[in-house]
């Protein structure tokens, strides 16, 4: 819409999908949570939903203003494929499965296969995103977003962290610090070995510090008008430490 407003795009046809019941809302399906592509940010903020996917709920709360959150959708955020798309790091950390449909049929893909570059999605001209599904994870989730304003700000850097107790995994995804959402795999692998999974905790502060350093070094940010690459790397490191500390507290 922004591009249309600024005449950067002049589409000759616009198809509204916001009255298709199948694309709306969310539902629980076994141990998975399924979200329709037209689910709005406001709907993600609902405490019922937040109880299952807290990182996404928290990410949704940081998006734009109430007006944007009432209108903007999960499908729109995915298709836009912005490095600063706030739902993307939680979806990356949750290993989301994305269902696309066209006249040719249906396919299920992952976030890393869907989002291929800055504002570039592997989405056929005839394809729509219909739903996104994630596992209802047993364990805490966190989402932290750094920006120069305390609300309604495009992310300078974000971190989504999922503590998957069943799989004994700490999964962490970073936003705004690379062309596509990034999983800090080295940091994930290292910290999983440090955590005492019996009653999730880490041995010492040094482990948390080192985790932060590994996350910071995973980032490959740019410098632009919003911030510097140095700050972005620093910020994801700090947020990773804090997210972990919160998840383990």
């Amino acid at each position: 819409m922004v591009e249309v407003n600024y005449s950067q795009r002049r589409p000759s046809t616009v198809i509204s999908i916001d009255r298709i019941p199948e694309l709306k809302g969310w539902r629980q399906n076994g141990d998975r949570i399924e979200m329709g592509a037209c689910m709005t940010y406001s709907e993600m903020e609902d405490p019922l939903f937040a109880a299952y996917v807290p990182s996404l709920a928290q990410a949704a709360r940081t998006v734009g203003s109430p007006q944007i959150r009432n209108a903007g959708t999960l499908g729109g955020n995915l298709a836009t494929a912005s490095p600063a798309g706030d739902t993307l790091p939680p979806l990356a950390a949750l290993n989301a499965q994305i269902t696309l449909r066209s006249l040719r049929g249906e396919r299920i893909t992952t976030l890393s296969n869907l989002i291929t570059g800055v504002k570039s999605a592997n989405l056929g001209r005839d394809e729509v995103i219909v739903k996104v599904s994630v596992e209802a994870v047993d364990g805490p989730q966190e989402f932290l977003k750094a920006g120069t304003r305390n609300a309604m700000v495009i992310s300078v850097a974000t971190v989504a962290l999922v503590l998957d107790a069943a799989r004994r995994q700490v999964r962490i995804a970073l936003g705004s610090v690379s062309p596509v959402p990034l999983r800090a795999s080295a940091a994930e692998g290292w910290i999983a070995d440090q955590v005492n999974w019996e009653s999730p905790s880490v041995p010492d502060k040094e482990a948390v510090e080192h985790f932060g350093e590994l996350v910071a070094s995973a980032a490959t940010p740019i410098t632009d008008h919003r911030s510097t690459s140095g700050y972005r790397s620093h910020a994801v490191g700090v947020m990773a430490k804090r997210a972990l500390a919160r998840a383990l507290s």
């Binding site: 203003s65 977003k145 750094a146 305390n150 700000v153 495009i154 140095g230 700050y231």
Partner: protein, 763 residues
Amino acid sequence: MSSAPTIARTPTLGRIGESVQRPDGAPKTSGEFVFSSDLWADGMLWGQTLRSPHAHARILGIDVSKALAIAGVRAVLTHEDVPGDGCYGLDRPDQPVLAKDVVRFCGEPVAVVAADHPETARRAAEAVEVDYEMLATVCDAEAAKDAPAIHPEGNVIRHVVVRHGDTGAVGEVQVEGTYEVGMQDQAFMGTESGMAAPIGDGGVELRISTQWLHGDRDQIAAALGLAVEDVHITLAGVGGAFGAREDVTLQIHLCLLALHTGRPVKMIYNRGESFFGHVHRHPARLWYRHHAGRDGRLVKVEARLTLDGGAYASSTSFVLANACHFAAGPYRTPNALVEGWGMRTNNPPCGAMRGFGVVQACFAHEAQMDRLAAALNLHPLEVRRRNALRRGDSLITGQRITGATPVIELLDALAEAPLPQAAVGSVAETDMELPGGAGRTADSRHVRRGVGYAASIKNLMYSAGDDDYSTAACSLADGVVTITCACVEVGQGFVTLAGQIAREVLGISEVEISPADTSIGSAGSSSASRQSWMSGGAVLAACEAVRDDLLAHVSSKTGLAAGELMLQDGEVLSADGSFRASVAEFTAEKAFRREEVFRHIQTEEPDENGQGNIHVAFAFAAHRAVVDVDAEMGLLRTVEIATAQDVGKILNPIQALGQIEGGIAQGLGLAVMEELVIDEGKMRNASFTDYLIPTALDMCDVNVVRLVEEPEPDAPFGAKGIGEPPTISSTPAVAAAVRAATGLEISRVPIRPSDVALADSQA
């Protein structure tokens, strides 16, 4: 006062000193207010501007043929189509209406289009082919001094020197610093818009949101070779200004298109274009050395200020003069040597914004006062108190202050104000009221709290010998008062105030305010904290003249002495209560009308040492900021700003509060986020997505601890302008609080997260 009336009557409400509600308040909140962007006329065309994508380039040729060939396009105009001088400017006409041989900033207008539909106009503007040859850019204001001239008038727009006392004096204690202020934007709500239509014999009528109708009129006439009588301007609904509407933006383009097509033409900048269309606050680099004795008393202030004026002069000369004249702040400074440069560069032009040059100087002199306090181990308030200006003191420009100068009172009021109740850590871990807000980056244990102080002095009204005046008419017929004045209501509340003045003087409830237009004499600009004084003064004079005429008339009819008569609650009364009659009756048979011109005291141009009685009057303010800082993330949240301000007299308490809160929001914005990022002359964040202004989560509580009402001599009702001071010292107070919380230097605003989080690695 008269004897008690025997019959009940409706008292005249809405007089001076009351919290009268603005007439445009409810319509603006309900969406019914008609802004300049809502104008409409049958058969109107839509205008569009083509702007330079380059910061500095030679125009080798412009081909409009493809644009003109588009169906529905009525005109595509370039500099060749501009009659008259073809140039305009607030201070001097150095800016082409449409670029001629050279473009000097990215966003400079090159061509204008009129078409049947706005989308057609946009496509036509895109179809204009301009052949550019790139030129080397000059984008650093200090480097511009020695760089090749980018304009026939050279790169130095103005050089100012202030020499005061013994410039060789040396203080036992010296503190030195270099400071930087980024480019702030006025970020008003309603973008530039208006509509022009041809009238009569080659004349033009313009409806526009602006700050000064007559200033626009004169520039339009000169640029287009018209007589001023042929340009008629009516104010359209304004969506904020803050200085950004002082310069001409689309006014001349609209008139040019209307005259060329013979049709009404409407134009609206979208938000992105708006950032290119208007001037901004000057970015500044400021070097300071303060000399003081061991007792903390100032001996001398040395300063060198460089303001980046961008490609055209706008009001750079006056902004620079203000920055230099108030370089030492509200402090006794026996000796001073201040040098300032207003430079021309290939950056976007800068001009007026709330605080007008004093904002930049104040950020630096207040940082210096804190440095001095630290060097002497004094409390920041104490070092300020020891140096505070008092009535009768002289400024570094040699001018004696004759009006109210309650600096010590303001500082003491802040000292006595309790600190905010809620301490760090008292908020829940999940609360958004921590630095980082909705992003939930901080827990309370990551947060440190700092408290900082700042004080300021600001001149009121136009300075340096300007023949500054306002004109107003008051008419009274059938018991209804009508006020006519070309004073522009930009949201500051003049329309409300004019009604209050009329009710105060004439004792009549029903007051109508005519639309502001150029059919009456100039009111001057709605800027420089001047309209309550200047146009308020003109309205007051006109109302008093009508009152005197009416009372003389009643006197002649009744034989009662005019001096024994008074107006109250719609009636003429005699002092002893023996006579009373309704004003409506008297004014049904005879209408009264008077037009008055109001001038403030004459000022002088500064001499070669920057000395003289340059300014009319001064207003003071002080701020205390409490800021929570998450130093590791570099994120901030301002908890509270307490303020005390010198206001002379409160004319309307709720409007005063509005000015103070709004001004502080803008000052807070400059402190922590508001900056147009310019990279090699290109604006990187020309949108509200990336030009950030405070949201409700960023704006803090405002605690007005004291408004000092010490009537200002010469000012109508003794009231001082109150619009600018809140913006000025709020910024340095926030910076001081961040300094106090972190121990960092904080030599630049806005304070970026990296300035705090990575301060060690940057140093």
